[in-house]
């Protein structure tokens, strides 16, 4: 199949089907309702399950129930909806069930606005729901990358028995770009017989399976949390992804940026190059696990005088950049929120000042 022109939200919907996920539960919210609209037509065609739940809270538990009996399942929402799902997400991580959540972010806090934002970085990367847990967070910068990340998300969720979140800003969902659906990213479902509540007869098993999150004995809860922690550490060993841009030359400043914002930053870097000024960028593709080593290495290059986190949020990504740079360079922040995407000119002005100082 060749390239087709598709809106991000519809491409995400189709990518899940192509990945082999035919079960979708969701609640409408701007700017990602096209996913549900697309799938309400498309899933019945392929014998899949589409259900519009009564709330995002309920949807997160429909996902939990379906995932816990071994089905491949996903949902999509946007910022306020993800807040409501966060209760269920905490339970799903505790119960170690694989599932995929897509957050097409809008501005917050509260109702905020409906335009693109990256203000749910902390919510996605640091928690959101209660308790010690992490999501594996993938951040696409194009519709094509959103497709590939959705398709990759299901085997990753099954590898770790942990939810994976695709964190895209509203532009990723709303813009149209040419995409293709790579056949090689379709993955067979994994064997879940040793834990899923799929019915004993289905597994031909005399042993029943139990999906639970309550550990009343302190030692048992601690052991459970250590087990979860080991998975998050394994993610850091095996599944960190990032893309470098213009790191081959002696750059004077390093940008760290992800998603749509990173595309603006590419233009910034290209414009500087035309003027004979080198600026580099590390673009995290996984926000958790964060590419700490890559950011540290790039920031500590001898020519690099300043590091700047450019984000559509009020200083969230910058905290992980600071943790990665570990004081070796000054780390600065520039960003806008509320639906405005910083322009290349604005970002260039900030970086020019940093280089000059």
């Amino acid at each position: 199949m060749g390239k087709v022109l598709m809106k991000g939200n519809e491409a995400i919907a189709e990518a899940a089907i192509r990945a082999g996920c035919l079960n979708y539960f969701a609640y409408p919210i701007t700017p990602q309702s096209e996913v549900a609209e697309y799938l309400s037509k498309r899933l019945p065609e392929v014998g899949g399950v589409f259900l519009q739940g009564e709330s995002e809270v309920a949807v997160s538990y429909m996902i939990f129930g379906a995932a816990a009996c071994g089905a491949r399942v996903f949902t999509t929402s946007s910022s306020p909806g993800i807040s409501l799902m966060s209760e269920g997400i905490s339970y799903i991580t505790a119960a170690q069930c694989p599932a995929v959540f897509v957050n097409i972010m809008r501005g917050g806090p509260g109702l905020g606005g409906i335009l693109p934002s990256q203000a749910d970085y902390f919510q996605s990367v640091k928690g959101g729901g209660h308790g010690d847990y992490r999501l594996l967070v993938l951040a696409p910068a194009s519709v094509q990358e959103a497709v590939e990340m959705v398709m990759a998300a299901f085997p990753l969720a099954e590898k770790y028995r942990n939810p994976v979140m695709i964190l895209g800003d509203g532009l990723i969902g709303q813009m149209m770009e040419p995409v293709e659906f790579p056949d090689h990213l379709k993955s067979p479902p994994s064997n879940k017989d040793d834990w899923a509540t799929s019915g004993m007869d289905t597994r031909r098993s005399a042993q029943r399976n139990l999906v639970k999150t309550l550990y009343l004995v302190p030692e048992e809860l601690n052991a459970h949390n250590l087990k979860l922690k080991a998975k998050y550490e394994r993610m850091q060993q095996e599944d960190v992804r990032c893309e470098n841009y213009n790191l081959q030359d002696d750059y004077q400043a390093l940008i760290v940026s992800y998603g749509t914002m990173s595309r603006v930053c590419r233009t910034v870097i290209d414009n500087f190059k035309e003027r004979g000024v080198e600026v580099g960028m590390v673009r995290p593709q996984t926000l958790f696990p964060f590419p700490r080593k890559a950011v540290y290495q790039a920031a500590t290059k001898a020519s690099c005088r300043a590091v700047v986190s450019v984000e559509m949020s009020m200083g969230q990504l910058v905290e992980d950049v600071e943790l990665s740079v570990r004081g070796a360079r000054m780390v600065h922040w520039y960003g806008k929120c509320g639906g405005e995407v910083p322009t290349p000119e604005e970002v260039m002005e900030v970086i020019a000042k940093l280089i000059a100082s």
């Binding site: 949807v59 429909m62 129930g65 009996c69 089905a71 799929s198 019915g199 139990l210 639970k212």
Partner: protein, 259 residues
Amino acid sequence: MGKAFHRPEALADGVTHYCPGCTHGVAHRLVAEVIDELGIRGRTVGIAPVGCAVLAYNYFTFDFQEAAHGRAPAMATGIKRVRPDLIVFTYQGDGDLASIGMSEIIHAANRGEKFTTIFINNAVYGMTGGQMAPTTMPEQRTTTSPFGRKTVQTGMPIKVAELIAALETPAYIAREALVKPKYINKAKKAIHKAFGYQVANTCFSLVELISTCPTNWGMTPTDALEWAEEKMLPYYPLGELKTPEAGRSAAKGRNPDAA
């Protein structure tokens, strides 16, 4: 001569954590007997609530999931939609279902999700320590209504079975009681019918079971049984409130005296 009384295969052997005189044990046994009789243990998934029955999975011998407070009907929906061949039931108390989980149960019932809900109504929050529930009786003392439930402030007890029976979607809705053997036999029949409708893929089914909580009511087990019969049954009439065949008009709750 065959064995007259035995433990159902679906019921685990062991001691429960329930208080003396609690009727959860009776409800568990009835569910287990029905699962045995229908021969569905190998394709049943139970969903435990938050509340005293959170550990219910320890007392059954088939697949189980443990829900968050009130969310069991959403989890059951998730399972039934992706695996309609499984038999799914939620086992929920009145704090779980009638308070924090009211939205989930109403919408699941209204969509006609083909699972079964066993709803334990003992007019109080059990596990958290005897607080007022939406089903608490007027003037009933609880740890959060120490002077008795004042209906001017907190409204009247919610009649869950009637509320759900009022939905237009076909369903099997019944209320029975676990307070005397004569009621328990009828409760067993209702639970059997509820699971039967699910096995036949007919409709959503819910059986409300009037139960006791001697510990949080501050009564002996036998006084609690008497109190439930005297105070609760006149307000919560027993019987089938709705069947998929007759709808809700033809199936009205019977008078407790006639039970």
